[in-house]
Amino acid sequence: MGVVVATGALSYFPGSANAFNPQRLRNSMNRLYGTRGVQTLEEWFALLNRLRGANVATQLRNVNGFFNRRVLWRDDIQIWGQEDYWATPLETMGKGEGDCEDYSIAKYITLKALGVSGNKLRMIYVRARIGRSQITQAHMVLGFYQTPASEPLVLDNLVASIQPASRRNDLDPVFSFNSSGLWAGNSNNSRADPMARLSRWRSVVSRMQEQGFV
């Protein structure tokens, strides 16, 4: 029975497992957040169109700016009513609100959609000091590595501009990951895979597939 359902779902969305599908995104957005969300989504499509073919620096700057401007930083508990919820870019854009990892995910996905290699992008867990106080807070930023060994550029929602990591004394890196480590190899078809619900990253990836990002 399970086999039948899975093949049925796959054939209903042909090639949906790993394809960027604007029409599906529009439908998902319209269904979940109405016309306001669709408006943001159209702006996002316009951004993608504008930046396609531009150099990486331009892409990074514009994408960083797009989300920093459009999304309001709030805690997950206030947005989603739960401690830690990883939202998909669609959810982030739809709500117009997001937590630090929601920014990072949205930027990560957008840059990948623009053709930036996933190997160069890493989500980095950092300890952040807010303002001049000594209070530190768990935070996440997106790092851009020109080469694996090079110093990353940091795309952050606390600071509007993109800076090399060495300039960010307020951030203290702890660990990093990207899709290659967590979402590896043969589990591409993860929507029917029960394992997808076990990991936050896998969970967001599977929702993104449903909505039409990847």
Binding site: A149, P152, P173, V174, G181, N186
Partner: protein, 631 residues
């Protein structure tokens, strides 16, 4: 395809389907599950290790220690740390341990698990990429074991199912085969009955067929007894139930020409003296009682020797024919004893004169009757009423002593048997088969069976002669492709070894058996029904046509033979002789032929002497004729 074969195929197909299906599903789902588990473990452990390493100082020793500690205490195939440039910083690797799993199974299952990967950070920069693979060779063994166990379990289940199936097939097969056999028999107009089987559906079929057979049997019994009443009225004396003169003399004639051991034997003539006076003294009824018990006593004398006939030649003369009786003295003694006890029981004043004579092949009726008559005159003159034996003219005999006969017969049989041939023809003159009595070359010429058969019988050479005749018949068939009819003697029929021997020989004969007809006298078959049944059962499957000859006096018992699948009946000459002018005989033969046809049996008339008889017989619906008038 037969039902039983289908059943077997179904059982095998179901078992195979169940086995292959569950094995495939079990292996596939286990494989998937194991792959998932190992995948998760790889990813999680890689990230956990990378996280720990990220927190440490990035000196070589600490890094190596961490990799080594993780590798040594866990179950890993490979843990490696590569620098961002791709060069190996630290590597721990183990062999795969797959000891007792065949390679083809590993190739078939071949887990696809990608290694876990995580990046170790050194501050903002990447220190290296950690790749981690868990040991999953154990899973092959687990999977192999469980497959083996499942195979074993299915082998057991298969055996049990086969036992069950075998048992079911066995309980179905026998009644099924029986039902088929019975249906075949009935379609061949052999109305057999069989035991009702346990299986419900088959039971109903068998019951229906049994009912049919029973109805046929009943109908036959009724019809044959009606015909028998007619026959008796025609052929038997109404008072004493002895044969009429014509019937008796016809029998004697038949015996003389029979080419069998019946061709010689003893004749007894008993005259009740002064019957007219006895009628007065004893009364009409008393005299009838006397005559009836005389006939009864004569029958008893004859029964001692086998198939005997008693007839009333005229009002006071009674004759007993005992075929194959040779020792006239002992017959005389038996006859005396019986006649004396008869007199004692009725009236001592009754005078019974009796004479004995032998008869043999080549004798004529009139000559024998004359011999008896002349001696009877002498017997009547005697006062002691003892049986007299005719001292008639000595006839020429081939041999005089038993020893000489034995020698002559053995020699002749060793030299070979020749078959005479008398045709049996259908209404269009076509050949049905040749009757083929045997001939032996003795003392310079070929001798008819009537001459030596009594001695063959006496010397117990019947079965040897029967086999020799069979060989000669098979030779004739293979040479001329003509149907040949041969006889089986009463003694051979009783001999189980002979029948076995006969069957074996016929199995080797191939298609020749299609042309072989075998016949026995009616009374032999009726009196040894069990042996006759055996003979039919053995020979009919080989294509041999089995039938009866001299059918008449025991036709009413034919109902008991309705399930034997007889091919033909030859009606006795005593029913045939003078058929063209006797309406009673016509009624009887017409009825017999009709009954025979209703069972799919050919009706053939014996002793046909001339064209008028032949014509009348075919008009009555008989299928074939044979006799001196048939060429």
């Amino acid at each position: 395809m037969s039902l039983i074969k289908q059943l077997w195929l179904t059982v095998i197909a179901i078992l195979l389907l169940a086995f292959i299906g569950s094995l495939t599903i079990s292996v596939t789902s286990s494989r998937h599950y194991i792959e998932q588990e190992v995948q998760i473990k790889n990813a999680d452990n890689a990230n956990a290790l990378a996280l720990s390493m990220t927190q440490l100082e990035k000196d070589d020793v600490s890094m190596e220690l961490l990799v080594a500690a993780q590798f040594d205490t866990g179950h890993y195939r490979r843990i490696e740390l590569r620098s961002p440039e791709g060069e190996i910083l630290h590597l721990r690797e183990a062999e795969e341990h797959i000891d007792d799993v065949p390679q083809w199974f590993i190739n078939l299952v071949s887990f696809e698990v990608s290694p876990g990967q995580a990046v170790v950070q050194d501050g903002w920069s990447q220190y290296g990429t950690l790749t981690l693979e868990s040991q999953h060779s154990f899973a092959y063994r687990t999977l192999w074991r469980s497959s083996l166990e499942m195979t074993g379990w299915f082998a057991l289940a298969g055996m049990v199912s086969f036992l069950l199936a075998w048992w079911i097939v066995r309980t179905i097969r026998k009644p099924l085969v029986d039902v088929i056999q019975q249906a075949k028999s009935i379609s061949a107009r052999r109305f057999t009955t069989t035991e009702e089987p346990y299986t419900l559906e088959l039971r109903q079929v068998v019951r229906a067929m049994n009912t049919l057979s029973g109805a046929v049997h009943e109908m036959l019994s009724e019809e044959t007894s009606k015909l028998d009443v007619l026959r008796r009225r025609l052929q038997e004396d109404t008072t004493t139930k002895a044969l009429t003169r014509e019937s008796l003399l016809e029998r004697l004639k038949r015996n003389l020409e029979s080419n069998s051991h019946r061709a010689s034997g003893a004749l007894a003539l008993v005259r009740v003296e002064q019957l007219a006076e006895l009628n007065e003294t004893l009364g009409r009824r008393g005299a009838d009682t006397l005559l009836t018990s005389l006939v009864q006593h004569l029958r008893e004398v004859g029964e001692h020797y086998g198939d005997a006939d008693v007839g009333r030649l005229n009002g006071s003369d009674f004759m007993l024919i005992i075929p194959s009786a040779t020792d006239l003295e002992s017959v005389a003694q038996a006859l005396n004893t019986h006649l004396n006890s008869l007199k004692a029981s009725i009236n001592d004043d009754v005078v019974l004169a009796s004479v004995l004579a032998d008869y043999q092949e080549g004798d004529t009726l009139s000559q024998r009757l004359a011999a008896l008559d002349s001696t009877l005159a002498a017997a009547e003159a005697r006062t002691d009423c003892l049986t007299m034996i005719t001292q008639g003219d000595q006839r020429h005999a081939l041999c005089t002593t038993q020893e000489e006969w034995r020698e002559a017969i053995d020699q002749a049989m060793a030299a070979g048997v020749q078959l005479a041939s008398y045709p049996v023809r259908d209404s269009k003159g076509g050949l049905i088969h040749y009757e083929a009595p045997s001939r032996l070359y003795m003392q310079g010429s070929w001798r008819n069976a009537g001459i030596f058969m009594p001695w063959v019988h006496r010397l117990q050479r019947d079965d040897a002669l029967d086999m020799a005749v069979l060989e000669a018949a098979l030779t004739h068939i293979s040479k001329h492709h003509q149907p040949v009819g041969i006889n089986v003697s009463a003694r051979s029929l009783r001999d189980v070894h002979f029948i076995k021997h006969l069957t074996q020989r016929l199995r080797q004969a191939g298609r020749a058996t299609q042309w072989l007809w075998m016949e026995l006298p009616e009374h032999v078959a009726i009196h040894d029904l069990a042996s006759f049944r055996l003979l039919c059962r053995e020979l009919q499957p080989l294509g041999v046509k089995v039938g009866l000859e001299h059918v008449g006096s025991e036709f009413n018992k034919l109902a008991d033979l309705h399930d034997l699948g007889l091919s033909f009946l030859k009606f006795d000459a005593s029913l045939v002789s003078g058929i063209e002018s006797s309406t009673d005989q016509q009624t009887i033969l017409r009825g017999m032929a009709t009954l025979a046809h209703s069972l799919g049996i050919l009706a053939i008339a014996e002793g046909v002497k001339h064209e008028a008889e032949a014509e009348a017989l075919f008009d009555l619906g008989l299928d074939g004729i044979t006799g001196p008038g048939v060429k």
